[in-house]
Amino acid sequence: MNDLLKRLRIRLQPSAYRSIRTKFLVSFLIVTIIPLLSLGAMSYYQSAKVINSQFGKYGENAVAQLEQQTSSYLNRMNQTTETIYTYLLDPAWADLGDQPPSTYSDIMDKNDLESLLKALKTDRTTGIYIITRTGYYYGENNLDVSKLTAIPAWHTMPDSQSGKYWLGFYPQSHGMNDTADAGMPVLGLAVSINNPYGALKGSKILIEENAEELLHMFKLFENDTKAHLRINDSSGRVIYETAGAFASQSSDIVWNKTIAVNGWNIESRLPAASFYRSSGIIRSNTIIVATASCLLAFGLAYLFSSRFTVRIRRLRDAMQKVSFGKLHTRTQVEAKDELGVLDISFNNMVSGIQTLVGEIEQSERLKKEAELKAFHYQINPHLLFNTLNSIQWKARLQGAEDIRQMLYHLTKVLEGNLDISQEMIPLGSELKIIEHYLKVQEIRYGPVFTYKLECEEQLKRYLIPRMTLQPLFENIFFHGFEDGQGEIGLTIREAGNHLRLILSDNGAGIPAAKLERLLLPNTEKRKGRGGLGVQNANQKFKLHFGPQFGLNVQSIHGEGTTIIIEWPKKEENPHGNGNSD
């Protein structure tokens, strides 16, 4: 595991720039791997400890059980022989001899002994015989004494042997019809009869028990534990040994038991490798599970961090695009979290910038246009004024006072109109121009209209864009009045730090359809007359004071029009026009 981490670190190190994702992955892995490894190691050590001790106990118990089973066989056989031995000690049976009995009473004795032997037989007993020195025997008539030498231990049993001699395990093949090799495995015990006064001195009691079950248990034990089982008697003779080569080693796990009845030693050796096999399995399982969990954690961390970082990266990409000037760029808002908020504010910021840039663009363009127009108009005001003054002079000479007056007023109006050096002029000046214009109209139509001005003197010093009111008045005469007849009211009031101008007439009014389109920007392209003045005035206010200002035109067709303008109060600078340049 540590190796893996190191390699991961090496792999990540060369690039000085480490992405958030990498950092995420690394921290995720560290956070998951540490508890995982400690848990895994803990559970492995605990369970391995438990298993090893359990298996050790199991083995010990199994050997103890083998010992118990074997001893139950041995004890029973031992007791049986002792019963027979005791029976034979009775002097009443002294007549039992080495030769086949032929008299009635001998046969009765023989039958009694044989019924004892038969009674001592259990399900497991395969044979109980008393074999005399001559070869005659007592017991069931199925024994072929000459075949007894087939029992390996019978052969090696010393003649001087007195008392019990355990023959161990061997195939029973000494029956009358038995062949040499086929026979069920039995456990045998031979007891030499050695009582000076009793019957059958020098005979041997042979008892055999079916050992299939016992050997099967040994086999089960061997298969179960994979241990090597060996039974020795007290003199070191091998009674039983697991088939197959086995080299004992000092590292072997050894379970040892000694059978009390005859001193047999049951020894079970298990190579250390086999003993620790189950804990090895646990270890490999634990490693597999831990590795799988790490991979899972890595995968999930990768997924999660990529979900997380992909949004950051998207935002970063969007910022980059914006920095390249692509202001229409917006980033997708995915979730309501901190990143989402970031996305939203980014979008808001970009759209704010975009609007601002648009506005600046617009105003720059209009300014340029105005300048161009101004150049155009500025070409020859002197020519116009000189000419007009000449006409005025001629009219005075000819006594045409009306014409001279008209020209005088027109010149005044035009002066205001053509003086483009100042964009903003005091309200008073604008009002004077209006009065000159109204004089012209009065001369033209006669005193058929009324003009009511309501404006406090102190307000006249505030600035208003040049030539904004004159076109509106012109509209009144051209569109509103018929033959100059009507009433015009102009009211200028203070409204906080704003000025409010209300221009009302009782002329024809503006049709509703036209009114709607009146202030729309594209009206410039409109053919025909009317509304151009309103449009211009509106633009001027917006350009000078901001888009929220402008004209508010209310009109009822046939009853008149009211135009309301509001703009911030602004005084002329002592140094000149506040809006110079």
Partner: protein, 426 residues
């Protein structure tokens, strides 16, 4: 941050669950497999236990019959329990624990009849059984105090087997029905050739006294008085002793060999080996003799001069245990077991039904005819049916017979046996 924490927690929990699940599996797997072994009880299958003393081929035939019965009676299972040599021991244990087999082979009715179900009500008037088709007298063996405790399933009488080839080699005519023990003994003398370890006759070292009754009766003797109360003067009578002494004499003069004793082969094996020319037995070894390739002949028992030949029947019957919980089914099984179909399957016994015998013409087959001739001669009542203490008496009688074949004088041995047995009759 919150999300991250949840994630880590989740990973840890998942991995822990995986670890613990792994450990849990190992533990539980052992328990499961142990449980599955117990499993389904067969509530709807009726199990019938049938105990037999037979082994080998005879047992195989009985298992086949049981299978046929199962096929005819769906939902039943017949468990054939082969007790073999331990028959008496295991049966007694079963009765003692009130857990006996439902149906069992039976011959020793005096000993066991208290544990058996009386079958009169089943057998009388049962048309399937048809009592009248059975050889008369077979039912007597299974009747105690007028109660029928078993249905005869098979029987045999005893005949003399002879090896035709050995007779031919010795130039002796084959024995014929109506021959005498003198004929028998002189033939045995001639058939004996000790240099070839070849003998005219084989005598069992340990005889079943029951089987010897035929000879005793033929010589006009008996083991016990007809009322079953007295043995003195019967068991040790001149006739009884004479019949038994005859076998001892044949052994002494070398025309017969002792068989089946310690270190000795059984008589059947020696006969199969062609080393004894005559052998006395029931029908049981006939098949094995044929299989061993012996050209075997049968003849009825020889007669003592001037006396009628008598035979003894060895009968096996089927009985139902009193403690059986399925007596009806057990009765069905018995009826099937003694039906013609099942009888024909059982070749180790002689058919108990007259109809089967005449159908198979067994009584006309020279090899089988002597068994039926002997059956006609078997009208004496065996000793064990006359006294219920016979088993005790028999121990002494057996020892006496054994002493005789081992060289003792029959009269002396029997006198002693009578003396020792008297106390059981009081």
């Amino acid at each position: 941050m919150k999300k991250k924490l949840t994630f880590i927690l989740l990973t840890t929990v998942v991995s822990m669950a995986a670890l613990t699940a792994c450990g849990g599996n190992n533990e539980s797997s052992g328990g499961n497999s142990a449980q599955s072994a117990g499993g389904k009880g067969s509530a709807d299958v009726k199990k019938l236990r049938f105990a037999t003393w037979d082994t080998g081929d005879a047992l195989k035939i009985e298992q086949d019959i049981a299978k046929k019965f199962e096929a005819d009676h769906p939902g039943t299972q017949v468990q054939v329990e082969a007790y073999a040599d331990g028959f008496d021991q295991k049966l007694a244990a079963g009765f003692g624990a009130t857990n006996p087999p439902d149906v069992m082979y039976m011959w020793d009715f005096p000993t066991y009849h208290r544990s058996l179900e009386p079958l009169n009500s089943y057998a009388d008037g049962d048309k399937d059984l048809n009592k009248d088709d059975f050889y008369s007298g077979l039912f007597n063996y299974a009747t105690i105090e007028n109660n029928l405790y078993g249905i005869p399933a098979g029987f045999t009488t005893r005949v003399v087997y002879y090896n035709k080839k050995m007779f031919d080699d010795a130039g002796i005519a084959y024995p014929k029905d109506g021959w005498t023990w003198d004929d028998f003994q002189s033939a045995a003398q001639k058939l004996t050739d000790k240099s070839k370890k070849q003998y005219g006759f084989g005598v069992r070292a340990e005889n079943d006294t029951y089987d010897l009754q035929g000879f005793v009766w033929s010589n006009g003797g008996s083991y016990i008085s007809d009322d079953g109360k007295t043995i003195d003067g019967f068991m040790n009578s001149k006739e009884t002793a004479g019949a038994i002494q005859m076998f001892g004499d044949m052994l002494k003069n070398g025309s017969a060999v002792l068989t089946g004793g310690k270190g000795q082969q059984s008589g059947e094996d020696i006969f199969k080996g062609g080393k004894i020319a005559m052998w006395e037995s029931g029908i049981w070894p006939l098949e094995s003799f044929k299989q061993a390739g012996i050209d075997v002949g049968t003849v009825e028992m020889p007669a003592f001069p001037g006396k009628p030949v008598k035979g003894v029947v060895a009968e096996s019957a089927l009985s139902i245990a009193k403690d059986s919980k399925q007596k009806e089914l057990a009765w069905e099984f018995i009826k099937y077991y003694v039906s013609s179909e099942a009888i024909k399957m059982r070749v180790a016994d002689l058919p108990v039904r007259v109809s089967v015998v005449s159908e198979l013409k067994k009584d006309q087959d020279p090899l089988y005819k002597p068994y039926y001739t002997m059956l006609e001669r078997s009208d004496n009542t065996p000793a064990f049916l006359l006294n219920d203490k016979w088993n005790e008496v028999n121990r002494q009688l057996s020892a006496a017979v054994e002493a005789v074949v081992h060289g003792s004088n029959a009269q002396d041995a029997l006198n002693q046996a009578v003396k020792d047995s008297e106390r059981y009759l009081k």
